[in-house]
Amino acid sequence: MRPPFPLVRPSVQSDPDSSPVSPPAAHPVRTGMPKGAPALPPHLAALRDSIRPPRFGVLAFGDPRIDAYLPGGGLALGQLHEIGGVGVDRETGALPAGFAAALAGRIGGGRPVFWIAPRPDLYPHGLTGFGLDPGRLVLVCPDDSDTTLAAMETALREGGAGVVVGEVETLDRVASRRLALACVQHGITCLALRRWPYGRHGEDRDTSLAATRWRVEAVPSEREGREPGPPRWLLALTQARGGRPGEWIVEAGESDDATYPVRVVAILADPAAAPRRLAG
């Protein structure tokens, strides 16, 4: 039986003193980290930010409870982001579309929003409440999910768009890599909505290379009398490159706030402690 690593090391390393970058040097750093907190020490966090700043800026959520989870303090622009739904919403795609509209309305500075979807059931009048002017929309209707991906890439590569939103069934590593590279070319943000065709369910198992992956879930709103209040979502950041996952209850829409896409109502427990949510 092999002994654990620290015991083996001296026998492999013939002369530990002669190599200054040997594993022992790493050991004190690891123990020196604050116990149980995923945040890096300030100097390392600063170092990391200096290495990889979001190249095209960020869209801040305006609330440190979300922004602290994202590198650069907000949703990185000029990147690929993935948004999915839960339950029947994975077919209808209503909540992901609402979140995408809330984001797209605040990105791209009035330049057109290419909304590429094989099913043309987006209703422009419903977008205004989330801050997206339907006058910016350029609607594109391809045949299927694959042509949607191709059309998204074309729209990203040609430039001229402010945001490209695409509704796709699957987003595998190759497709997401292509889209991510196309985003960088002109610094256009791309939002990929995951949406299954009616009556067909699949597991969203494939791992994309999106900068962030979000999941939007409906939660009961704060009623105003008998009427429903502003929509409330459980917003879950299930994957964030350079950031960390988190979950929030947010309110969206029906507000005059032109700066921030959503308002945080509550932050849920750190999902690192609840792996159920991580499965996505």
């Binding site: 209503a94 419903g126 339907p134 191709a150 409330r232």
Partner: protein, 509 residues
């Protein structure tokens, strides 16, 4: 141009063996010959014989079912291919006479061929003969005269008639060559009128009184006294460039290079007249007398050669060169002045960005097809499905104003889906409903918002089928216990003849 034996020779192009062949059709249970091939004709067969008689005369006869639709389609294809000679070509289907043919208006085209009209006709015939098609041409000043001369019993495969000599040339031809109804032809024959010249000698009133206007109209058309209008399937395009190849080409690289040569030529001519192309079509003429087409459209008129060539090249993959392509024709099918107003995307700062945008739209529109890229504009209508209209992607638009007191869903189902609903009467929102095999309990609801159909839009059929109450919908915005939000409506009123029905029309985020 007359194409004798067309149905058979067409089938032979498609691989029919080289034996006496006929097509047959069944009339009143008897199978008769509908068309015959040249070698079958040489054996003494004729159209209208029964198949049994024909088999007796010619034991090795090959018979196929007649397919007039396929004949006509192939004829239209050949007519399109003839656009290599002139933009005005049309098929001449066998409506009255049972003979196939083609019209070509070669006015002003013959000088492109060294040797004029005769050389053009010779080239056309040689190309058709090479592919096993027989053709007899006649070139004349009127369509009627050309038609008659092509089918007359002359020995030369191509007859040329100088303009103004129609009366003399036609006088001795049989009356059947006037493209008359067979009944009329038979009637004229009974009167002893066998030649076209005979008809011209009879007092006009008598003929019209007995046979109607057709004989004299056809006569006047053939002699040039009356206009004959041929329905050309494609209107001529003023901006056309063509490229002929001494040897057929086939590789995608060659085709792309040819487009790179043609596009700048076309664009120079467009630029000379300050025009831009909205639609450009390219036709590829294959050696086997068929034609392939591609077309690209641009949102803004353009005469940028590099850009248009790039759009065309993207479509090249749909072209099947077959055994080779011997000519390419490029024409601007739709053009417009270049001073078209720009899109009003408010924040488009530079013209560079505007051109990027129109380029992105063009690429998507050409890849996905027409009508797949659009923008939306509000329409003054309360009916949700009519409150949005599609507009072209680069058109300036009115502003969107929305009423915050009447929120609208983000997804609108194309057809509302019927629901099973438990709802208190008369005006309350539902308590629970089934949708997509799931039970939804309503915890909050807003409404009703009454939307009436636009009475002035009802069609006569609709007004019979749908009772008046169904023209009114009461919309509710409901939220179920999970927080999901729906847009439901009720149609029909309580206490009426029919119980109210509920539908789901949209989804809120």
């Amino acid at each position: 141009m007359w194409l004798p034996y067309w149905p058979i020779l067409r089938l032979r192009q498609g691989g029919l063996p080289d034996r006496p062949a006929v097509t047959i059709e069944a009339t009143h249970g008897v199978r008769r010959l509908a068309a015959i091939g040249p070698d079958a004709a040489a054996q003494g067969l004729s159209v209208g014989q029964t198949l049994a008689d024909a088999r007796a005369l010619c034991p090795g006869l090959l018979a196929r079912e007649a397919d007039p639709g396929a004949d006509a389609r192939a004829l239209a294809g050949l007519a399109a291919w003839c656009e290599r000679y002139t933009p005005l070509t049309a098929a001449d289907p066998p409506d009255t006479t049972g003979e196939h043919g083609l019209w070509l208006d070669i006015t002003g085209c013959a000088h492109l061929f060294e040797g004029g009209e005769a050389a053009l006709a010779e080239d056309l015939q040689a190309r058709l003969n090479r592919n096993g098609l027989l053709a007899r041409c006649a070139i004349a000043g009127t369509p009627g005269a050309a038609w008659a001369l092509a089918r007359s019993l002359t020995t030369s495969p191509c007859t040329r008639l100088p303009a103004g000599r129609e009366r003399h040339a036609l006088a001795l031809l049989p009356i059947a060559l006037l493209r008359l109804d067979p009944k009329i032809t038979a009637g004229l024959r009974r009167l002893g009128l066998r030649q076209i010249g005979d008809l011209a000698r009879i007092p006009r009133g008598e003929i019209t009184a007995r046979f109607g206007p057709q004989p004299l109209l056809r006569l006047d058309q053939a002699l040039g006294a009356a206009e004959e209008v041929i329905a050309w399937p494609r209107p001529p395009a003023p901006f056309t460039e063509r490229l002929d190849f001494p040897e057929p080409i086939g590789t995608p690289e060659d085709l792309a290079r040819a487009l790179d040569i043609l596009t700048p030529r076309l664009c120079t001519r467009l630029a000379g007249q300050d025009q831009g192309a909205h639609r450009i079509g390219a036709q590829f003429f294959r050696v086997d007398n068929t034609l392939q087409r591609i077309a690209v459209a641009t949102a803004l008129p353009s005469h940028d050669a590099a850009y248009l060539a790039r759009l065309l090249r993207a479509q090249l993959e749909t072209i099947d060169p077959g055994f080779g392509i011997e000519a390419i024709l490029l024409h601007a099918e739709e053009t417009a002045g270049l001073a078209t107003p720009q899109a009003d995307f408010s924040e488009i700062a530079s013209s560079q960005e505007a051109s990027r945008l129109s380029s992105a739209i063009d690429r998507l529109a050409n890849r996905l097809g027409q009508g797949r890229v659009w923008r939306v504009a509000p329409r003054a209508s309360h009916v949700p499905e009519r409150a949005v209209q599609k507009t072209p992607p680069l058109q300036s638009q009115p502003a969107w104003v929305t009423d915050p007191s009447a929120p609208r869903p983000i997804r609108l189902l194309r057809t509302p889906e019927p629901l099973e609903v438990t709802a208190p009467v008369p005006d309350d929102p539902p308590i629970l409903f089934h949708w997509r095999r799931r039970l939804h309990r309503v915890r909050a609801a807003a409404g009703p918002e009454r939307i009436a159909a636009e009475w002035w839009r009802k069609s006569s059929r609709e007004s019979e089928a749908v009772p008046e109450t169904d023209r009114i919908r009461d919309y509710y915005r409901v939220e179920d216990t999970d927080g999901a939000r729906f847009w439901l409506f009720r149609t029909g009123l309580h206490g009426g003849g029919r119980t109210p029905r509920w539908y789901l029309h949209g989804l809120f985020p």
